[in-house]
């Protein structure tokens, strides 16, 4: 537009100049009319110039308006081609054929004052691969998800620790789990080793539950549809934890429904203040027949979770106590000849094995539990103390039917004091040092020091249960 305007103005000025300096007197009259014509043309050009200026301003205004609109649209526009119709969320791409996979490397170096103590995995001296754990999980369909944990360590090969399916879309707030998994017993019994706040599982859980609460069966969990968190889990299993290794269930299988293990575990939770909360659970499981086992447990967890930026980041105080009552076969420290023919004679009724007249039996009540606190500092440090008390049956339960040897009666009560410090260089990498003082009645005290080094490959999470 500017070029046209300049050309027109230049043309008019040129013509005017030519008119002013044109030679010849005879031409004066004609010149006068030409000048008039030129003046008219000049006036017209000037009018046109003014209109052009006006149009230019209008175009500028339009351009500015468009620019503002583009900016507004840019601020409000969707990402466009990256969104499929009906998209409700940015979700990480997932290949339906590839489940989430992770692997945990959990190693320890341990020394104790007794100088040995057996396998380094279980408390003896030396280096150990305490756990190499492969964890796989994925949704199966809109109604089910599945997961598996395959675990091995220094003293045993890989074993399927868990392989379970869990419903995801049942009505009435119900969830059903089936397969092999850690039954919902107490609090720390169903935690995996690498998720525990200590190097080792509390000895009382090892001696009373039998380590992890591994079980095969079916578990139903119900969440109350209320503001108050109330969850009740009920389960039926072949066995739980230690029971998995007992003779009666393991060797001969389950003879009747009364020889299964039945569990109920209610849990509730209270926010005491914005930063203090408490979680309370109760556990009861029983084997009605067979060894007539009844285990009662209570677990309480206090947490202070300020969630702020100070050096102190919070504290957890966990307490768990169990009472276990069950019938054990009377045991004698020699070869049990009476059992030998039974093992090779499947025609014999199962109850014959537990018949007190065959082996004799006695009830044993034992109790135990632990209390610990752990405080968190900075973003990567924590430290805590743990006290654990446990009782073993006065006569040992030997898992071998053929060779039964009692434990030293002096070692039936064990107190363990532990101190632990944890440092996490990153979310996926952890170093932990633990000192244990083990006081067994009638035995020399044992001091143990363990350094644990744990790393997590892949996205590793056991979910809500290990919060």
């Amino acid at each position: 537009m500017d070029r046209h305007r300049i050309a027109r103005v230049g043309l008019a000025a040129g013509l005017a100049s030519c008119a002013c300096f044109a030679p010849g007197v005879n031409a004066r009259a004609a010149d006068a009319s030409d000048v008039k014509a030129l003046q008219q043309e000049l006036a017209a050009t000037q009018g046109e110039l003014a209109q052009t200026k006006s149009e230019l301003q209008e175009t500028k205004d339009t351009l500015n308006a468009l620019k503002q609109r583009v900016e507004a649209l840019a601020a409000a526009a969707p990402a466009g081609p990256s969104l499929a119709p009906g998209t409700t969320a940015h979700l990480a791409p997932v290949n339906a054929d590839n489940p989430a996979i992770s692997f945990v490397v959990d190693t320890t170096a341990r020394s104790n004052s007794h100088g040995d103590g057996g396998s380094p995995v279980d408390g003896g001296n030396g280096f150990a691969l305490r756990s190499g754990e492969l964890f796989i999980s994925a949704p199966i369909d809109p109604f089910l998800r599945g997961y598996a944990t395959i675990n091995g360590n220094t003293t045993q090969g890989f074993d399927i620790e868990e392989a379970a399916v869990v419903t995801t879309a049942l009505p009435w707030n119900l969830t059903v789990k089936g397969g092999r998994y850690f039954a919902d017993v107490g609090r720390l019994s169903h935690w995996h080793d690498e998720a525990l706040p200590f190097v080792d599982r509390p000895p009382s859980l090892n001696r009373i539950i039998g380590g992890e609460s591994r079980a095969e069966g079916v578990e139903v969990s119900w969440l109350a549809p209320t503001e108050q968190f109330i969850q009740i889990t009920g389960g039926i299993y072949n066995s739980i934890g230690e029971q998995a290794g007992t003779v009666l269930n393991n060797t001969f299988g389950v003879g009747s429904y009364s020889e299964l293990t039945y569990l109920v575990h209610p849990t509730t939770y209270f926010d005491l203040t914005d930063t203090f909360n408490v979680e309370v659970g109760g556990t009861y499981f029983a084997v009605p027949k067979d060894n007539d086992r009844h285990l009662y447990g209570v677990d309480v967890t206090f947490r202070h979770q300020p969630g702020t930026s100070g050096f102190y980041q919070g504290t957890t105080l966990g307490i768990e106590w169990m009472w276990n009552n069950q019938r054990f076969a009377n045991q004698t420290p020699q070869f049990n000849a009476a059992a030998a023919p039974l093992l090779t004679n499947p025609a014999l009724p199962f109850d014959a094995i537990t018949n007190p007249q065959v082996f004799g039996s006695r009830f044993n009540t034992r109790q135990g539990g632990y209390a610990y606190f752990e405080s968190f500092f900075g973003r990567r440090f924590s430290a805590g103390l743990r006290v654990d008390y446990s009782e073993a049956p006065a006569d040992n339960v030997n898992t071998s039917l053929l060779y039964i040897a009692p434990l030293s009666p002096n070692a039936d009560q064990i107190l363990t004091y532990s101190m632990f410090v944890t440092w996490m260089p990153s979310e996926f990498h952890r170093l932990r040092l633990q000192l244990d003082q083990i006081v067994a009645r009638g035995e020399p005290d044992d001091q143990r020091i363990t350094l644990q080094w744990t790393a997590f490959l892949g996205s590793h999470s056991h979910g809500f249960t290990t919060r």
Binding site: P78, T88, L223, P225, Q228, P425
Partner: protein, 307 residues
């Protein structure tokens, strides 16, 4: 007589399940920013509860059972998205037994839906720290992105509660008008920030920096989510001196002493901001939160030393 305890308990249970008067839907917002926007858009039609507090590190929100019951009864969950909730929301949703708010379902409202993510990693290698695979999720610090968040929330509410479409559209229009006015004001307020060099504790300033022209020199963290090492701090301090860095931005959820040490070594000034609504006093709304951050940054400039 045997039924008396049940009959006495039932009304109490029903009371706990009942919605507040006028509210049509229950919404759980993971962060206070989202809760405020949802209230602004939905008004009394939405009953909103929040999971995280504004002064918490969004990457480390505690997983409390009380959140499970809130999610169990929710018609919708509003999330920041881009993986910001990865540490606490998946385990909560796993046990909440509420399929309608599962990721990808209509009740899962992702505020990042229309945000164009920045710093999307090209590799998922953990040597680069704890990266968010979908991109930097701290877009809420930029108010222009706030408009996109509001749009996604309004559309999500409309999806969950079509009968309230008019309410949500009107609420969004009102909120957008308010944001537009404030965005224009903030552009003038933040003008002094253009060209200012700063470091932050965590890499969460990129959207804010892009909007107002702040030049980010580095972070106190060695890598995202990985605490500072002495070697990294020396490198950072050298870089700050070289670039004449004026501000050490300490997010309220992170520790102050280290930021102070870095500032003392470089002559820069520490300024505390929040990455979430409610993280600083008097910032109960998203608009207050943005304004408080900008005022803090600009205010710090006036007293910042010359390195």
């Amino acid at each position: 007589m045997a039924l008396r305890p049940v009959s006495a308990t039932l009304p109490l249970l029903l009371l706990t399940i009942a919605l507040p008067a006028n509210a049509a839907i229950r919404v759980v917002a993971t962060f206070p920013d989202l809760a405020d926007m949802t209230r602004q858009i939905g008004g009394e039609r939405v009953d909103v509860v929040t999971i995280a507090e504004g002064n918490q590190d969004p990457h480390k929100v505690p997983v409390k059972p009380s959140f499970v019951t809130k999610l169990n009864r929710a018609d919708a969950v509003v999330v920041m998205g881009l993986g910001l909730e990865h540490a606490f929301l998946p385990p909560l949703l796993e046990v909440a037994r509420n399929a309608k708010i599962a990721p990808g379902e209509s009740g899962y409202i992702d505020a990042s839906l229309y945000v164009t993510p920045l710093e999307v990693p090209t590799s998922q290698n953990r040597t680069q720290g704890e990266l968010h695979p979908l991109g930097n999720p701290h877009f809420n610090l930029d108010p222009v992105q706030g408009k996109l968040m509001a749009r996604a929330i309004a559309e999500g509410l409309e999806r969950v509660d079509p009968d309230g479409a008019q309410t949500y559209q009107a609420g969004l229009a009102r909120y957008n008008a308010l944001l537009d006015r404030k965005i224009a004001e903030w552009a003038k307020l933040a003008a002094p920030l253009r060209g200012v060099k700063a470091v932050s504790y965590h890499p969460d300033l990129i959207y804010l920096a892009e909007r107002y022209g702040i030049e980010l020199i580095g972070t106190i963290e060695t890598k995202p989510g990985v605490p500072a090492t002495p070697a990294h701090l020396e490198e950072l301090i050298d870089a700050m001196k070289q670039h004449k860095t004026q501000l050490v931005v300490r997010e309220v959820a992170y520790e102050l002493p280290l930021a102070q040490t870095v500032a003392e070594r470089t002559g820069a000034r520490v300024v505390t901001i929040s990455t979430l609504t409610g993280g600083l006093p008097g910032t109960d709304t998203y608009i207050d939160f943005i304004e408080a951050n900008l005022r803090a940054l600009v205010g710090a400039l006036s007293t910042a030393g010359s390195p």
